[in-house]
């Protein structure tokens, strides 16, 4: 616990109140019908986007089972490892970092049971930057809306992307529609997530994300909305609707 406290003190980008909220939910990460059901439902859509964009960028064959062999991946705020495990199966050498020690423990135990090998560390992206680590692909997914200092955080994320490497990012847009759907709908009506999971004021607009990443040396090359259909209970990519959930991809110029 002492290590956690030290880490928090040394990591200005992590908001202490936010950490406590996720810690309470950590055990349920891997139950597809548990509290993280929306993440499990949305995961195949995110994976397809990541796989297709990365295969395109690095000229890899998405029909093989291990197209990412030889690539290094960093997942910032990896949680229970919902993205780390699939990317490791696709052949990447994956490092997952999270500032919540319990998440790292859960992720580690689960990876072992799933027979996938992943380097999980309780660390912040600022620490990896200080170690001069760089990766071919950096994932910055559903983290920024929980971060205290957005610019400092994006700067560190940009620094750990290798030249010519990719960054994937996702968050919730700061629109009235996002407030209605994600907070009122998701947390209060559908009870997908515990109340208080999100703070609407911390949602980031696509233009703000793009500007922040440009400052970190990342050129955003594409963005897409991720929309939910209540009729089919399915998520899908929708390039025209970035109003609520959206994700994107950027390149670090060599």
């Amino acid at each position: 616990m002492a290590a956690t406290a030290t880490n928090r003190k040394n990591s200005p980008s992590i908001d202490a109140g936010e950490l406590d909220k996720f810690r309470a939910m950590a055990e349920e990460w891997w139950d597809p019908d548990g509290k993280f059901r929306p993440l499990h439902k949305i995961n195949p859509v995110r994976l397809k986007y990541i796989r297709d964009e990365a295969c395109e960028h690095f000229d890899l064959d998405p029909a093989t089972l291990t197209p990412f062999l030889g690539l290094t991946v960093l997942d910032v705020g990896c949680g229970g490892g919902l993205l780390c495990e699939p990317l490791a199966r696709l052949g990447a050498a994956v490092t997952g970092i999270d500032a919540v020690s319990r998440n790292i423990e859960i992720a580690h135990v689960h990876a072992e049971a799933s027979a996938v090998s992943i380097d999980y560390r309780m660390a912040t992206v600022e620490e990896l930057m200080d170690e001069d680590r760089q990766f071919d692909i950096v994932l910055n997914m559903e983290v920024i809306e929980h971060v205290a200092d957005v610019d400092a955080f994006l700067g560190a994320c940009g620094a750990v992307v290798g030249d010519g490497g990719l960054m994937f990012f996702s968050t919730l847009n700061r629109t009235a529609k996002a407030f209605a759907l994600a907070i009122v709908g998701g947390e209060y009506i559908l009870r997908w997530l515990p109340r208080g999971t999100h703070d609407w004021r911390k949602f980031v607009r696509p233009s703000e994300f793009t500007r922040g990443l440009a400052g970190a040396g990342i050129d955003v090359t594409g963005m897409t909305g991720v929309t939910y259909s209540p009729l089919t209970d399915q998520w899908s990519l929708n390039r025209r609707d970035l109003d609520v959930n959206y994700m994107g991809c950027g390149v670090k110029a060599p």
Binding site: L47, A63, P86, R89, S114, A115
Partner: protein, 415 residues
């Protein structure tokens, strides 16, 4: 918690297939061919399974089934032993009315092929052994299988264990995996038993299959490859349960004498071309195709009347659908045992199989009798289908297996 095992005693794969029959080996070849590490385990010795006396049956493989076998790389080893069906003639009792399906109405390809199971098995074992990602463990007894939220573990009789993400039950109509999983089945007995054998006949069959609806049950004549210059057909003779033991006990001459009026004199004189087998018939359909990290495939999920020659073909379509959902998910790096992936498979196949099971059931019950009004209705029905070309073409496409929401392998595309 099981006792810890030394590292080399654990076999890590993604899919564990139990059953190295036609379904298990085809599924294994499809998955391993796409690069997925699989283990195929069977308690029987492959040498026993391919011996001529083990299984003398021949199997009808529809046009769609052939495409799937081509897609998974199995057809090349089978083609030399396959006899095309270019025409199917369906008749009702001794009435002259018959339904005539000619493949030229729906394109250049044969409606299907007849292959002896033995050659299918030989080709499948050969191919399975050539795949780097396929670990064939046969003969090998499985002591215990544990399915848990985070994976499947099978303890083998030799002390090793297999760890997998997904268990695929290809262990036949009496599936012990299905039973252990507590998945119930719907069963309907037919009070019919099938006698299966091959006959030599004087005249060439011209690649025509015959299906005769007789009061005791359907009688099928299926064109096989000539052997040693002699013309040959496979017989699937379904008759009332109580008659079959007596028929099986007859010597060859008396058996042929009994068969001749059913066979008709279209192909000249007849001679048995091997032993006879008999199988009691019943309809069986699993109430669910899936469980935690489990999917039932082929006869483990459904067994139907052989009347339409669809048994293995239903299994092949299961394989095409299941391999597609598994490989698509795995190409995203997903855990192939995830519940939504298995639900996609069940949704895709179970309704389709149930419709086919019900249709064959209705046809069998409708035709297996000698009640005058039903015979009259049947004659009108067959005659009508024969006269209405679009309806006939639709029936033919069903027989070929090329209708519905088709998996890529069935459409002739790569997995």
């Amino acid at each position: 918690m099981a006792a810890p095992h030394p590292k080399d005693s654990t076999i890590d794969v993604e899919a564990l297939i139990v059953g190295a029959g036609l379904v298990g080996l085809t599924l294994g070849s499809a998955l391993a061919g796409a690069g997925l590490p699989v283990a195929v385990v069977d308690r029987a010795d492959p040498a026993t399974i391919v011996a001529p006396e083990f299984d003398g049956r021949a199997t009808a493989i529809t046009h769609a089934g052939v495409r799937v076998l081509q897609g998974v790389g199995l057809w090349d080893g089978v083609a030399a032993y396959a006899s095309a069906i270019n025409d199917i003639r369906v008749s009702d009792g001794d009435s002259l009315l018959f339904l005539h399906y000619d493949h030229r109405e729906v394109g250049d390809e044969p409606l299907g092929h007849i292959v002896e199971n033995r050659y299918l098995r030989l080709a499948m074992f050969d191919h399975a052994r050539s795949l780097a990602a396929l670990n064939l463990l046969a003969p090998m007894e499985i002591v215990e299988i544990t399915r848990a939220p985070d994976g499947v573990v099978a303890e083998l009789a030799d002390g090793r264990q297999i760890r997998a993400r997904l268990l695929l039950a290809c262990d036949g109509r009496n599936s012990s995996i299905r039973e252990a999983a507590g998945i119930g089945v719907t069963r309907l007995p037919y009070n019919q038993t099938s006698i299966v054998c091959a006959v030599f006949h004087d005249l060439p069959h011209n690649n025509i299959a015959h299906e005769r609806f007789l009061p005791g049950g359907p009688f099928a004549i299926l064109p096989m490859k000539d052997v040693d210059g002699r013309h040959r057909s496979a017989i699937v003779w379904s008759d009332r349960n109580e008659l079959v033991p007596a028929l099986m006990a007859l010597d060859e001459a008396a058996f042929i004498t009994e068969m001749a009026p059913r066979f008709g004199d279209i192909l000249g004189s007849l001679e048995l071309a091997g032993p006879r087998w008999s199988h009691p018939l019943s309809l069986l359909h699993a109430q669910s195709y899936i469980g935690q990290r489990l999917a039932l495939v082929g006869d483990a999920a459904h067994a139907i009347h052989p009347i339409a020659g669809q048994g293995l073909n239903m299994g092949i379509r299961d394989i095409a659908a299941l391999a597609e959902v598994i490989i698509d998910a795995r190409r995203l790096g997903r855990d192939i045992g995830a519940p939504d992936i298995l639900a996609d498979y069940e949704r895709w196949r179970r309704f389709d199989n149930m419709v086919l099971a019900v249709v064959t059931d209705v046809i069998t019950r409708l035709f297996s009798n000698d009640i005058a009004p039903l015979r009259a209705a049947r004659s009108i029905g067959l005659g009508a289908v024969n006269r209405i070309a679009p309806l006939r073409r639709n029936f033919m496409r069903h027989a070929m297996g090329t209708v519905g929401d088709l998996p890529r392998l069935v459409r002739g595309e790569a997995l």
